[in-house]
């Protein structure tokens, strides 16, 4: 099997305002499975197989547990809080414990809600452009807490969309200590770094933010050595009116379905990644994570 022909399994794709179009594009680009975050409403007759995540709290309010058993009966492959904030750590602990009881995997997207409010990496470029910054600690503080709670509850957990070198280090250490977690990165963060936002380029306003070149390199290395198991598209379509705005006002996220295969191919061509590892990142690893 080659990277050029593999049917890809995406761990995160949003359908946007025209779900039918997104699904048709996914089919054309060779996706076999798309994982949808909570509250996406796909058409009945999707040309691509869909795996759905349910909310872990009601309306992702971070405060009241969602009816996870009902969602499970409805076929969700896991539950998540997305990037929405938790009301407090006790709710989070209870939610993970409840999910464990239901045998539901949790997909955690670590981001501290206060530090995470910044719109660009806390580096030289954002400081110069006068943008509110988001330090890497916005992710690593939440990740460290998530890892502690995963260990405490024994829930099956997947960590999604890490963006910095320190997160790679934390995951590596947790895995070495035997914590049964998996992890993914968005293809955008393997291909780009904070340099892209020069000129207030709103197309590169993402969440998590694009970080330094050193972070980008650490993510690629983390993927190559298997600390990071999978790569997803994190496809996030927005109407142009929500995107074409002064940088901080632009909705975060970009249309990236077309980047997953081409981006990994480029990394393989550059010798940063074996083809086998790239295939695993969009096939075996996500299949295992989603228990397909």
């Amino acid at each position: 099997m080659s990277l050029a022909s593999v049917g890809m399994i995406d761990l995160c794709c949003r359908l946007g305002e025209t779900p039918g179009q997104t699904l048709a594009q996914a089919q054309e680009l060779g996706y076999d499975v798309l994982t949808l975050p909570p509250y996406e409403t796909p058409p009945e007759d999707s040309p691509v197989r869909l795996a759905k995540l349910g909310p872990i709290t009601q309306e992702l309010d971070g405060e009241h547990l969602a009816e996870m058993a009902r969602y499970q009966a409805g076929g969700v492959v896991g539950v998540t809080q997305g990037h929405a904030p938790w009301k407090n750590t006790r709710v989070q602990l209870n939610a993970l414990r409840y999910a464990r009881g239901q045998n539901l995997p949790v997909h955690a997207l670590p981001l501290d809600s206060e530090l995470g409010r910044g719109v660009a990496h806390d580096g030289e470029i954002a400081q110069r452009l006068g943008l509110e910054t988001q330090p890497s600690a916005a992710e690593t503080i939440a990740l460290a807490r998530d890892l502690q709670l995963i260990a405490e509850t024994g829930v099956t957990a997947h960590i999604g969309r890490i963006s910095c070198a320190e997160s790679v280090r934390l995951i590596r250490r947790a895995k070495a200590e035997g914590l049964p977690i998996t992890c993914d990165v968005a293809v955008t963060h393997l291909l780009w770094n904070e340099a892209k936002i020069e000129g207030y380029d709103y197309r590169y306003r993402l969440q998590p933010v694009l970080r330094s070149e050193a972070d980008q390199m650490a993510l690629i290395e983390g993927l190559a050595e298997g600390v990071i198991d999978a790569v997803c598209s994190d496809h996030t379509p927005h109407p142009v009116a929500d995107k074409r705005l002064p940088f901080a006002q632009a909705a975060p996220g970009a249309e990236t379905l077309h980047l997953l295969r081409s981006g990994l191919t480029a990394l393989v061509d550059q010798g940063r990644l074996t083809e086998q590892r790239a295939i695993s990142a969009v096939l075996d690893a996500p299949a295992k994570i989603l228990k397909l």
């Binding site: 400081q127 002064p246 940088f247 901080a248």
Partner: protein, 320 residues
């Protein structure tokens, strides 16, 4: 995408817009200051009016309130005989539905030649310059935390007026460096004019981590030692609410400028402030009203510098 520094220049290196002092060529900065000098009279009342923009229309587009800056732009534009309209467009009104681009297209249709833009979002004037018709010039009157380039140029002008060549000076800036668009523009301008010794002074929560030329100091005395120019910044009350400072009083104890503390700086040092002053917070009345203070000169110079900039972005090439 082009950087802001690239976007503001024409192919021939002239000013197409005026968005930032970052990367602004030294000869253009000197030209702005030389041109501004020709508008100054002997007293503030004798500003020399010249009809360089007769028949042109200037729209002051203020998405964020600022009576002072808007007024100086109005006086500057009128001093050049331009037709001037000022619009206060609160950000809440645009948030209600009309996007910035829609607002812009509407105003363009009214046939303006130049927009003076103030906005609370960093990069908004850059965004407007990218999306407006090519005939329209944009002057940045302050955007978010990013830049306030006309303020910086009037400060450079004032420093040159009192202290001569900026390259040989030690310049200290005190206060909320991290959240100040004025400082960013001042530092880029100072750097571009060859200043080798820029000190940025404030408590750790108000200092930038990286990205600005200049040395960082959390000790006032060390920072202003032998400085020729001391610039105080206005302390915003919001800084206390967001847990960046305990109180105005503590800020004043550690970083407030007084006549006595000015003794640590070079003899004949000048004191500047972009205004409006919080007396007794960043600067004492005794110092603000002393001979060392050039704060009121800054206001008058602000009009002359803005006249220079408006005429240059409108392509008035006449050597004055």
């Amino acid at each position: 995408m082009p950087s802001t520094a690239q976007l503001q220049l024409t192919d021939k290196g002239r000013l197409r817009h005026f968005l930032t002092t970052e990367g602004l060529p030294k000869d253009l900065m000197i030209e702005i200051m030389d041109r501004a000098a020709t508008f100054l009279g002997d007293t503030p009342r004798d500003l020399k009016k010249r009809p360089l923009l007769k028949g042109r229309s200037v729209v002051n587009l203020f998405f964020e309130n600022s009576t002072r800056t808007r007024t100086t732009f109005e006086i500057a534009a009128k001093g050049l005989s331009a037709d001037v309209v000022s619009l206060d467009i609160s950000t809440s009104a645009t948030a209600k539905g009309e996007s910035l681009l829609d607002t812009l297209k509407n105003l363009e249709a009214m046939g303006a030649d130049l927009f003076v833009v103030r906005h609370n979002q960093s990069g908004a004037p850059h965004f407007i310059a990218q999306h407006c018709t090519p005939e329209l010039a944009i002057v940045n009157a302050g955007d978010g935390l990013h830049a306030h380039p006309t303020q910086a140029m009037l400060d450079m002008f004032t420093i040159r007026q009192h202290k001569g060549d900026i390259a040989n000076l030690k310049v200290a800036i005190i206060g909320d460096i991290r959240h100040s668009r004025v400082v960013r523009s001042q530092v880029h301008a100072l750097h571009g004019l060859g200043c080798q010794d820029i000190r940025l002074i404030g408590p750790g929560t108000l200092l930038p981590r990286q990205g600005l030329a200049g040395s960082l100091h959390d000790d006032l005395r060390e920072g202003i030692q032998d400085a020729d120019v001391v610039i105080c910044l206005r302390l915003q009350k919001e800084r206390m609410a967001s847990a960046l400072l305990p109180s105005e009083a503590e800020f004043h104890r550690n970083y407030g400028m007084t006549l006595e503390r000015l003794g640590w700086a070079a003899p004949n040092a000048i004191v500047m402030h972009p205004g409006p002053i919080n007396r007794g917070v960043e600067i004492d009345s005794e110092l603000a009203d002393s001979d060392h203070s050039v704060i009121l000169n800054q206001v008058t110079n602000g009009i002359a510098v803005r006249m220079a900039i408006l005429s240059m972005v409108m392509g008035v090439e006449e050597r004055l």
